[in-house]
Point group: C2
């Protein structure tokens, strides 16, 4: 029963990157008669930069790089640290680990704040590291740890760091956070924020955005760097001219999604994420499911514990193969233990009703009691009621 794939089912993905791409943004690159060394393209590029700026809340335009988000993280590391620099790194999951790897690879002297998966970093955990620090050059953290569905209280932690070390640069990976949670570099006192096109921006992967505070621009390190030379890019991009050939089609799409974000308004976009993620969380008990995050659950995605005794990898496969719905699972030691249901970007209530109903059918097929018989549909019902409250 329900084990055959219904005809006409189409694939849908609910991942925290790539996220849904509006059709208009997908259509924009169909005009491929665009050369990037023309005044028209310089205007387009600069317009994108100027529309990105208020989303980061910084004083100068963010730099647009043709690379994945990780390239943006590397750009932050190699432009803002020098070998031997003491740095503080918060590691609460796979992406915190990426900061740690980057710092190690680049010869920094790393002071680690290790945070248990599913928990947000706390002032209490940070304090002993601050006490033993000499004079840290930079503090690295995720705004949203995508691997565990946890949002670190990053503005508070940044204030704590700067209270003790006013010169320490606050460097925030907001790749999966921007648009989903409030962030403003000037208000929050961040010195570098990195994001990427396939996240809250609702575009195909291939662009990273790196925004710097005035003091970060004034304290670039000297290291061999070329493709990720932020000063060179900033100088050119202030006139719409990227140093290297940009991903033209993605820049064409970027204008479209930025216009949408500005039309909605950043505050309304963040509220949408709060409401949808809140309703997803509220739907879990009705399905006999539990939230993985113990504190500060993300509003970009919800990490859901796979019921004890159930094979999470098999559950994922059932949901994908029978119902066409791809929901990423856990990575590394969390493999098979969680589902990571995303509502990041251009997502609405009907998208999530689709996803939650697929999870319920999947749980039913796996023999999960809370999602069978008269209970089937309870998750969707709870989600809808949460939106109404």
């Amino acid at each position: 029963m329900g084990h055959q794939r219904e005809p006409f089912i189409q694939s849908r993905i609910f991942s925290p990157g790539p996220t849904p791409i509006p059709l208009e943004a997908r259509l924009a690159p169909l005009d491929s008669e665009v050369y990037h060394r023309t005044d028209d393209f310089y205007d387009l590029h600069l317009k994108c930069s100027e529309m990105l700026q208020p989303i980061f809340g910084c004083n100068r335009i963010p730099v647009i790089l043709t690379c994945s988000g990780t390239g943006g993280l590397e750009a932050a590391m190699c432009n803002l640290t020098a070998p031997g620099d003491e740095v503080i790194v918060v590691n609460g999951g796979k992406f915190g680990e990426r900061w740690e790897e980057l710092a190690t690879r680049y010869g920094c002297d790393t002071r680690l704040v290790k945070v248990a998966p599913g928990e947000a970093a706390t002032a209490k955990e940070l304090e002993p590291v601050l006490v033993t620090c000499g004079s840290p050059r930079a503090f690295f953290i995720q705004a949203n740890e995508t691997s565990t569905g946890v949002r670190h209280p990053v503005a508070e932690l940044a204030a704590q760091v700067r209270a003790k070390f006013p010169g320490c640069l606050i460097i925030v990976d907001a790749i999966s956070s921007l648009g989903a949670h409030p962030l403003n570099m000037n208000i929050d006192g961040f010195d570098c924020v990195v994001s990427a096109s396939q996240k809250g921006f609702g575009l195909n992967p291939g662009l990273a955005f790196v925004a710097l505070s005035d003091r970060a621009w004034d304290s670039l390190s000297s290291r061999p760097r070329f493709y990720f030379d932020l000063a060179k890019e900033f100088k050119g991009q202030s006139k719409g001219r990227s140093a290297w050939t940009p991903a033209i089609g993605l820049i064409q799409g970027l204008l479209v999604v930025l216009q949408k974000i500005h039309a909605v308004g950043l505050d309304a976009m963040v509220r949408n994420h709060e409401q949808l993620a809140g309703a997803v969380r509220a739907s879990l008990p009705a399905m006999g499911l539990e939230l993985f995050a113990r504190t500060h659950p993300s509003n970009a995605l919800t990490a859901i514990r796979v019921p004890t005794g159930m094979d999470g990898t098999k559950l994922q496969a059932v949901i994908r193969d029978r119902y066409g719905v791809t929901i990423p699972g856990g990575q590394d030691e969390l493999k098979g233990k969680i589902l990571r249901l995303s509502n990041l970007g251009f997502v609405n209530r009907f998208d999530l009703i689709h996803a939650i109903s697929a999870i319920e059918f999947g749980l039913r097929d796996m023999g999960h009691k809370a999602s069978s018989g008269a209970s089937l549909g309870s998750g969707v019902k709870a989600f809808m009621q949460a939106l109404d409250s």
Copy 2:
């Protein structure tokens, strides 16, 4: 006369990157419900890698990076050299200069072979550098110098280098050459070849391809690198798994263009470039124009001297503004002195008839005698006759 823009004229670009993109490749990313951490996507990625391999003529799959071609050049530099390494760099234009800048930025000890713009590097120019070399780690060159429309005799020069220094790695920027000129890493004895998506491959910019010989794979240097870590990428991509989020839409398009290239056949594709570029060169005298290349003209693009006394920047503007045709000009010291008419990638005779006729109208508007009155159209006529010969 002819100074107003005709209604219904559409923009066309004839640049050596971005090149024309087949509609099917532009349509492929419209299906955005594709997650990159699935078996289906791994299959797609690996298929692309396997179809790229014979185009490079190497023993292992090339690595696909999400970046511009310059990112691919940096990957070659930072994976294959260490600080202090002696390297030989051929600089015959803006892209040779890029190798030189990269080598300097990465702390290599550079032996420069400086070649006059418009000329190909010769054995005679290379010899004195080889005589003074100690034990060079690598030899860097362009297969095609895009800024001057010159093709270096790269296989011959590589043989000359390796005759004296068998251990020296031969590293070839074939970004604007692959598909337009014969190249086979195994036959030519190349150790690293870099190319990019928006060139002969007929795709949007955003992907670079880096192929290594077995001995290059066996002699990777140790340097801080992260995003451009070729060994890490190779290991993953051998199973279709890129280390970082790939430009999914471009990978979808890549399969389409690779299928087209394989359907045509690489040899036939190279012959098409030879014929079209040869016919473009043959059309120049009829328009009173001269080739910029003094030796080894490129089959990917034709650098055309702007007639003496004519403002080349204005000519470009007339061709673009009145006739909708964008033809890149010279860069840096060649600005205003040349037009660079490309036939790279998925280009056919009618495309070039369009471009050459626009050049003729532009020359006529600029008061160029050889393209006015009864002479107008002589360039197109000569082009057509050259194809017939």
